[in-house]
Structure formats: structure tokens, C-alpha cells
């Protein structure tokens, strides 16, 4: 049985029209692999974080953190509030520059990166405190994710007729798939500021997906959702992971989710790494229990 997502993301015939103008075909849709979640092929290390330290004045947000992420895996970062999880993501995608340490991405090593380079290399992320473009509609928000791939120049766009329009339509097509996929069709034209919190989170994810990233960094994507919505969200994440082989780095406080869907977990506490390993190992780690999980889990 072909997966629902594959069916939905399969390029429609209309895409052909846009091929010449910056082909927006999703990576990996060619083969409709039937792999289920168990058979995912975890690959080589794609992202390697080495000895990162980050300070803000006197606050040590991160101290000498190292961990790696393998291709296609779902890597969770957990830890108590203020442990430095979000800061870690910010370092990876160039929002913060760590004082020490370096990051290796697909063989290239960086000390400083700017956000644009990171984005160009195929890293996308979502934000903990919704960073959507409030004044824009859902479609436009997601379309911004395609911007890196849109090539027509400003004059062509001013005229629009011709290349610019073809490009626009082709990418719109892609975005529509994401909209269908995230089930937010009804809100297409709504300004995102008006959406309830949970849907905004979905749009945030949609925008990141539109970048067709190789690595997707998710900062608490399921905060403020109920169980059912979390299930949906998990499904989205796993499907992206399965279908496109997108590597996922996930910060989440819901241990149920983390335990169920992640392959490996890093635990941070007060900016230090206190655990790293398979979910079950981490859960059994006494340091982690005392620092984070508490007794009730």
C-alpha cells in the first residue's frame, strides 16, 4: 500500500510547466520506497557538533557540547528549561556564534556561519516562540520557504509575465502539496496572526518543509497541542523523515513523543551534556532522571 504522503506529494502533471524555471521537484520522490519506519536507513554522520561553548556575558548557555547527527535519523535534544537546547539550535544555524568549538556539516567544517549559508546547505528549522511572518497569509509564509530556490530577477518579477509567473506557479504547486499534507487547506489565505497557536506551529513546520531541507531542526514543535494533534504532528515528522530521508533534530518536552519517535537522544542540563544515547538508555540514566525527568516518569 502506498503511503498517503507519497500519494499526496507526488508531483502533479502541472509541475512539468515549471521544471525549466528552477525545478522544484522534491528530493527523493522519484522512488516511492515502501520502507516503513522500522526499516529506515540510518546513514553516515551528517552533522557533527564539536566542543561548542556559548556564553552571554556571565551566563554559560552551553559548555563544551559535542554530539553528532546521522543522516536520516531522528535525533532528540532534551533537558530542563534553560538548559541550552534552543541555544544549541541557534548555534547550528548561525543565529548565535559560539565562542568556542566548530560544526561540521557534510564534511565541511565551520567556525562561523551566517544563516544564509546554513540555509543554502539545506538546514531548516522551526522556532520555539513562533517566528512566523505575522502580516502574511499562510500560503505566503510557506512560499517564503521556497525563496532560496526562486531565481527570477527583480525586473522579470516586475513584469511578471513569462518566466516569473511560471516560476511562481510551479513553486506554488509545491507549496500546495505541503498545505495539503499539513491539512491547513482551509486557512490558505488567512493571515497567520489570526490562527490558533497550534495551527501556527504547523505553518512554521510547513515553511521549513518548503525549503526541502536535508536537516530539519524542530524546536518544541508540539508545545501547546493535545494528544491527538501531537499524534498528527508525529506522523508528519516521521513521514518527512521516511519519505525524503530528511534528518530531524528535535527538541521536545513530551517524553512520550521523544521516547517513541527518536532514534537517539542528547540530554543537556545547565549547558552541559549529561547523557547521549538510545531513548531507553537515556531514560534509565540516573543523572537524567534527577535533572530532568523527575520521579513520575
Amino acid at each position: 500500500m502506498t503511503h498517503a504522503l507519497t500519494a499526496r506529494l507526488a508531483p502533479a502533471e502541472a509541475v512539468a510547466a515549471g521544471r525549466d524555471a528552477g525545478s522544484p521537484s522534491p528530493t527523493g520522490t522519484a522512488e516511492t520506497s515502501n520502507t516503513n519506519s522500522k526499516g529506515r536507513r540510518i546513514g553516515e554522520v551528517i552533522l557533527d557538533v564539536q566542543n561548542i561553548s556559548l556564553r552571554f556575558g556571565g551566563v554559560k548557555a552551553l559548555t563544551d557540547i559535542s554530539f553528532n547527527v546521522r543522516e536520516h535519523e531522528v535525533r532528540a535534544i532534551i533537558g530542563p528549561n534553560g538548559a541550552g537546547k534552543s541555544s544549541m539550535l541557534n548555534c547550528i544555524n548561525g543565529v548565535y556564534t559560539p565562542q568556542e568549538g566548530q560544526i561540521t556539516f557534510r564534511g565541511q567544517t565551520f567556525k562561523h556561519m551566517n544563516s544564509r549559508q546554513v540555509a543554502e546547505m539545506g538546514v531548516a528549522r522551526t522556532f520555539q516562540n513562533l517566528a512566523l511572518f505575522k502580516g502574511m497569509s499562510v500560503v505566503d509564509n510557506i512560499m517564503t520557504g521556497r525563496n532560496l530556490k526562486m531565481k527570477t530577477n527583480i525586473f522579470q518579477q516586475a513584469i511578471r509575465w513569462g518566466a516569473a509567473e511560471r516560476e511562481e506557479v510551479a513553486h506554488r504547486e509545491f507549496v500546495e502539496h505541503i498545505i495539503d499534507f499539513l491539512e491547513i487547506q482551509a486557512h490558505r489565505k488567512t493571515p497567520v496572526g489570526r490562527l490558533p497557536y497550534g495551527l501556527q506551529k504547523r505553518v512554521d513546520l510547513g515553511r521549513a518543509l518548503a525549503m526541502e531541507p536535508q536537516v530539519l531542526l524542530l524546536d518544541e514543535p508540539m508545545a501547546g497541542m493535545n494528544v491527538e494533534e501531537k499524534q498528527d504532528m508525529c506522523r508528519f515528522i516521521l513521514d518527512v523523515n521516511d519519505e525524503f530521508g530528511t534528518t530531524i533534530v528535535l527538541i521536545e518536552h513530551d517524553m512520550g513523543v521523544v521516547m517513541d519517535i527518536s532514534d537517539r537522544v542528547v540530554v543537556l542540563d545547565y549547558g552541559k551534556k549529561i547523557g547521549d544515547g538510545a531513548p531507553d538508555d537515556v531514560r534509565a540514566n540516573p543523572d537524567v532522571i534527577s535533572a530532568y525527568l523527575g520521579t513520575s516518569h
Binding site: G82, P196, G224, E229, G256, H297
Partner: protein, 268 residues
């Protein structure tokens, strides 16, 4: 039932003159109880709370029908500050800390309406720091530069600083680490039992909410579709399946949820 503190009576809320969000919501909050307001994204929980605390105006929303009564007094015309004077305070969704103020200053603004002297305020401050030791370590940081969870604690703590009679909590658990979530609800229980503070909480984490609440309302699409004692709700099959993720008895693994199932709509 004991005497009703808050009585929401068939309210309709419209945003921006055109967007009808609440379509006749009625609920009661008895004094000294914890009432949970449950429902999916966009159900209208936040809107309901805003209607009670009169924070709708800032969002260009208004209550067009129905009434809200606090101890029998109509309160639609009151300003949010007057509501706080009457002991009703809201913890807003999305934290809303004062970005440029330090954590401690944030907390102190919470005591703005207090008239019971410096010492009492200091005592409450200590109490809040006791609840959230994390805040104490970050007391001199500007709120904008603290982590999401720290801000959430700050927002809750700030509300507690006012020594409220009734707290409207909007998604208190959002962004908090599991043991802190637990703690927050312990605080709720603690205040409720010892200081008789009444709570109305909108929460997505149905599981924990129903564990701590006395009574629950389920909101769908701007309407109350079900209500009952928390215990009864926890046993209800539909609630179990759709809100507790335990269809057919056990909790399902998030990995194994296969299909995108459509949530049951009671009124669809």
C-alpha cells in the same frame, strides 16, 4: 454545587467585526474549584478566557451576546485592571513577559495592585522563588534573554504575585519540562487547597489537566460539547480516544499511529 464564582452565560465573540469565534459558550466556575477548559487548536479556549478577563478589546474582539458574571456582578464593562482588583487575573498564552524588564522586575510588576505592604509582597516573592528556583537564579536577566520555559514560569509567577482570588491559566504547561509541569499543577492544587484560589485553566495536556481539575468543559468549534466531573470525563470513551490518546485502552505509541484519523466532531 457550591456557590458560583464565575458564570459565563451564552457568550458570542466576534473578532474584527466579522470573525465569529464563540457561538454561545456557557460555563460555571464554582468558588474554590479547579475547572479545566479543554479542546483542540482553535476551539476558542483562549478567546473564552479573554472574554472573562476583558482582554478582548486589544485583539479587536468583542462579546456580542450573552453575559459574564463574577459573583453575580456583570463584568463585561469593566476594564482588565478592575478585574484584577476583583481578584481575577489571567496568565496569557504565549508568555508575554515584559521583555526589557528583568525577571525580578517582571515579578514585581505583578504586585502592582497589592496594597498590603512591602513585607507581604516580599513574602510572596519568596514564595514564587520557592515554587520556581530557576527564576531565582535568573532574577537579574532581562526577560527577553531567558529561555522559553523560564519565561513561562515568569508569567505564572507574575500572576501569583498579585495574590489573586481566581486565576485564568492559559496553557500553563506549554514549553515546560515534564517535572516543572508536574510542579505547576502541584502549585495549582496547593493554592487551591490552602488559599482557596479558584482556577479556570485552558490546557492541551488533557491528561494532567483532568487529573488535577474538579470539573471539565470540552470546547469544540466555539461551542461546549461536553462537560462533567473530571473523573467522569477521564472515563469517557470519546475523551479517552481523542484527548488522552488511549483509544482502546492503552496508550498508543506515537510511532505507531498510522493513519491521519479525523477527529470526531461532536457537532460537525
Amino acid at each position: 454545587m457550591s456557590n458560583i464564582l464565575l458564570n459565563v452565560n451564552g457568550i458570542e465573540v466576534i473578532y474584527n467585526h466579522v470573525i465569529l469565534v464563540l457561538k454561545g459558550v456557557s460555563l460555571q466556575v464554582p468558588e474554590g474549584q479547579v475547572v479545566a477548559l479543554l479542546g483542540g487548536n482553535g476551539a476558542g479556549k483562549t478567546t473564552t478566557l479573554r472574554a472573562v478577563s476583558n482582554l478582548l478589546a486589544g485583539e479587536r474582539g468583542e462579546v456580542t451576546k450573552g453575559s459574564v458574571e463574577l459573583r453575580g456582578e456583570r463584568i463585561e464593562k469593566l476594564s482588565p485592571a478592575q478585574m484584577v482588583d476583583r481578584g481575577v487575573i489571567q496568565v496569557m498564552e504565549g508568555r508575554h513577559c515584559f521583555a526589557h524588564l528583568t525577571i525580578e522586575e517582571n515579578l514585581m510588576t505583578g504586585a502592582y495592585t497589592r496594597r498590603d505592604g512591602k513585607a507581604a509582597v516580599e513574602a510572596t516573592l519568596e514564595k514564587v522563588y520557592n515554587y520556581f528556583p530557576r527564576l531565582k537564579t535568573r532574577r537579574t536577566s532581562q526577560a527577553a534573554y531567558t529561555s522559553g520555559g523560564e519565561q513561562q514560569m515568569c508569567a505564572i509567577g507574575r500572576a501569583l504575585m498579585a495574590n489573586p482570588k481566581m486565576v485564568l491559566l492559559d496553557e500553563p504547561s506549554m514549553g515546560l519540562a515534564p517535572q516543572i509541569v508536574e510542579e505547576v499543577f502541584e502549585i495549582v492544587r496547593d493554592l487551591n487547597q490552602r488559599e482557596k484560589v479558584t482556577f479556570l485553566l485552558a490546557e492541551q495536556n488533557t491528561n494532567i489537566a483532568l487529573r488535577y481539575a474538579d470539573y471539565g468543559y470540552i470546547l469544540e468549534n466555539g461551542r461546549i460539547v461536553m462537560d462533567g466531573e473530571a473523573k467522569a470525563l477521564r472515563e469517557n470513551e470519546d475523551v479517552k480516544e481523542f484527548y488522552l490518546g488511549m483509544g482502546g485502552g492503552d496508550r498508543k505509541s506515537f510511532r505507531d499511529v498510522k493513519s491521519y484519523k479525523r477527529r470526531k466532531r461532536w457537532l460537525a
